[in-house]
């Protein structure tokens, strides 16, 4: 019974504010119960320690930066350059491999013919032959780039020389396609991005509530929409109030 009573008293003690004293029942119980008295002293000391701690406030631009981050993450209004560029560069590198490969293969196929010609001459005359002029190379591509179709459709261009090889190479010309470039800094629609000549420094003020309690509050330097910096006293006025 006494234990239960102690529990009830301690629960009430737990709910007391720093400057408050308990009910008559609590006071009477404390007078009689040493364990609860000790408990009360510990609680009071703890509250005093907590009460003496200063106010911890967020960095001045915390609110603004948080909102900006949320807007960026959630809005999708901006694009990040690097992930798109990374894929583009990888694709370009692969394309480069193919182009380089094509060039090297072409040169490989050209040179043996010249060597074979020289070798054949050697076999027939067995004397040093006058230097032969290599035949002028035909244009690699059937149509020059400048004549490529103005349509945005990719053109399939066949390399005639390479088409004689067992595995003809086919390249797609994307030169007429203009891909959109996003760098994450485009305004949405015609609405300009507006500089706000406001300080990032939040307003900090220390207040005395008249009961010996002082605290520091920090008010953000900027707010968007209906965000209120300080909640008004009568914010919860009932809608059923005429």
């Amino acid at each position: 019974m006494r234990k239960n009573n102690c529990e009830v008293i301690r629960q009430e003690l737990d709910e007391l504010m720093l400057s408050e004293t308990g009910s008559a029942r609590v006071v009477e119980h404390l007078r009689e119960c040493a364990a609860c008295r000790e408990f009360n002293e510990k609680q009071t000391r703890l509250r005093q320690i907590v009460g003496s701690l200063g106010t911890v406030s967020a960095p001045p631009d915390f609110d603004f930066r948080l909102r900006a981050r949320l807007a960026n993450d959630g809005g999708g209004a901006t694009f990040h350059f690097w992930p798109i560029a990374r894929r583009g560069l990888a694709f370009a590198a692969v394309l480069l491999v193919f182009v380089m490969g094509a060039l090297v293969v072409r040169s490989v196929f050209n040179r043996p013919q010249e060597n074979k010609q020289v070798a054949a001459t050697d076999q027939h005359n067995n004397t040093p032959a006058p230097p032969t002029v290599a035949p002028t190379r035909e244009p690699t591509f059937a149509r020059p780039m400048a004549e490529s179709s103005p349509e945005r459709r990719p053109q399939i261009v066949r390399n005639e020389r390479l088409s004689r090889i067992k595995r003809p190479l086919v390249a797609e010309d994307f030169s007429n396609e203009r891909a959109p470039v996003y760098n994450g800094r485009e305004p949405a629609g015609t609405f300009e991005v507006m500089p706000l000549d406001s300080s990032l420094q939040s307003f900090k003020v220390s207040l005395d509530d008249g009961r010996g309690n002082a605290r520091t509050i920090s008010v953000p330097s900027i707010s968007f929409g209906s965000q209120r910096m300080l909640q008004p006293v009568n914010q919860y006025a009932s809608k059923r109030d005429w």
């Binding site: 694009f79 015609t190 507006m194 109030d241």
Partner: protein, 517 residues
Amino acid sequence: MTVRRVIQLATLGSALLCGAVVLAQTPAPSPKKAVTPKASRTSADKLAAAPQVVTIIHRLNGLKMFRLLLRSEQQVQAIENVDSAFSLMDDVHTNVIAGLAMDDGETIAAWLPEAGVELNAAFPRSPREPKLPRGPVAAFPRMRNGFFEPDITVIGPEGKRVAAKYIGFDAVTGLSILRLTEKNAVPASEIKAEPVNAGEAVLLYSPEPVSRGLGLYARITALEGRIQNVVAAPSGGVARLKVTAPKLSRANIGGVATNEAGDTIGIVDGLEGNEASILPAALIKRAAQRVLAQQSSVPRPWLGVKGEAVAELKLDQILNHGWEMQRAAALAGNHRGIMLTSIVPDSPAAMAALRAGDVILKVDDKDIATAQDFTWWLEQAGPSTSVEFTVARPDKAAEEPVNVKLSWRLDPSFTFNFPNRFTTTRGFSLLEQGIETVALKAPVASQLGTTAGLLVVYVEPQTAASEAGLQAGDVIQSINGKPVSVFKAATQPTFFKFEIVRNKEKLVVTVPVRKNK
């Protein structure tokens, strides 16, 4: 030779492939994730179709911030300290919100969250006063030092900045009506009462912060939403629209809603979860007309009661208000009327002998079924008008007509919670004289170039204090020859002689006392 070339070729190809693979696997330098544009964001062409949406920049200086503090839930007895760089005149806060350019090319309607700090009529008035005060109800005071001129800039869709004057606050809608100092600085757009239906797509425009370098930036963006519900007004037309949209936040309140063609639908005036409440365009237009006609703020009617729709009450709740079982059951079955649960003393309701337990069935012969009906018809009647209620009473068998002269009020959040404030010195209230003050402790006073005392943050215009020359920014050092810290008046004096410090100069201002009612 050929083998050597093939090996060279293979090596080159492998190297390039490895390079490509390494490049593709290299992590991005920034931890930011690649964000794909979400469906809820609008495309640029849709945004371009709403030139009537403007951005409003509302700045508050140090004095207004103190005034705001006095209205906040923070209990302020004195200012102990401020930042070393603080100045009463400097801007300490900026609010960025969307606004709606009206069809005359110079009027802007906006839902400014801190409009209250720009208004007077803040100190408690006697609820007995049913008449509107002479002159503007709540126009901002024009102080010589410019402390209280609202600092409002309107930015058009193409970035043009124009200063705006604060004309007044419409208490019925919560909108602030502004007028541009330059005509046609933003595109005028006709506000049509377009028919709206549930299921239609809408765009909600509001400003959001933009992260770019070290500076602060904002831009208007839009969310796509859909009309869920159209709430009809008791007198016809639309009273409210309910719109759902993903990722709604309080930053969307005050945003402008348009249909896909770019026609204005309304202004967001509230949020409940992912549902936004839209004040329809027709009501915005009417609010602007009200304020422009008076060139000042327009309060809402005030009766001085709390109550609940009978349809919302349980039978025992009706019985608890003195109704007999049979009549209570009949009342509950009818689903009509508003049951009054409490009456404010000295209010218009109290003066008309309305009592808790009474049920208002009609306002000027218009049936009342819901709280919204009651609000609507009171608002249609307007402040300082007489209305006739049809009232059912627990102790009377027949319904009775009751005439009530309505009073007025602005927004409850603009006022002090008077009994809990500490802004009076002992024995009398400066607030009753129309003077709002906050005590400065010595460290902060010296920082502001003065000595400890009561900093005047606001003086209501057209009061004795204002006419005597007391100004916001003055620091009261003594009252009737006694330091403010020890001043105590056993009986209310006939005048107050304030010794003040203004711009480091000592002055004396004598103010005749306004008698308490």
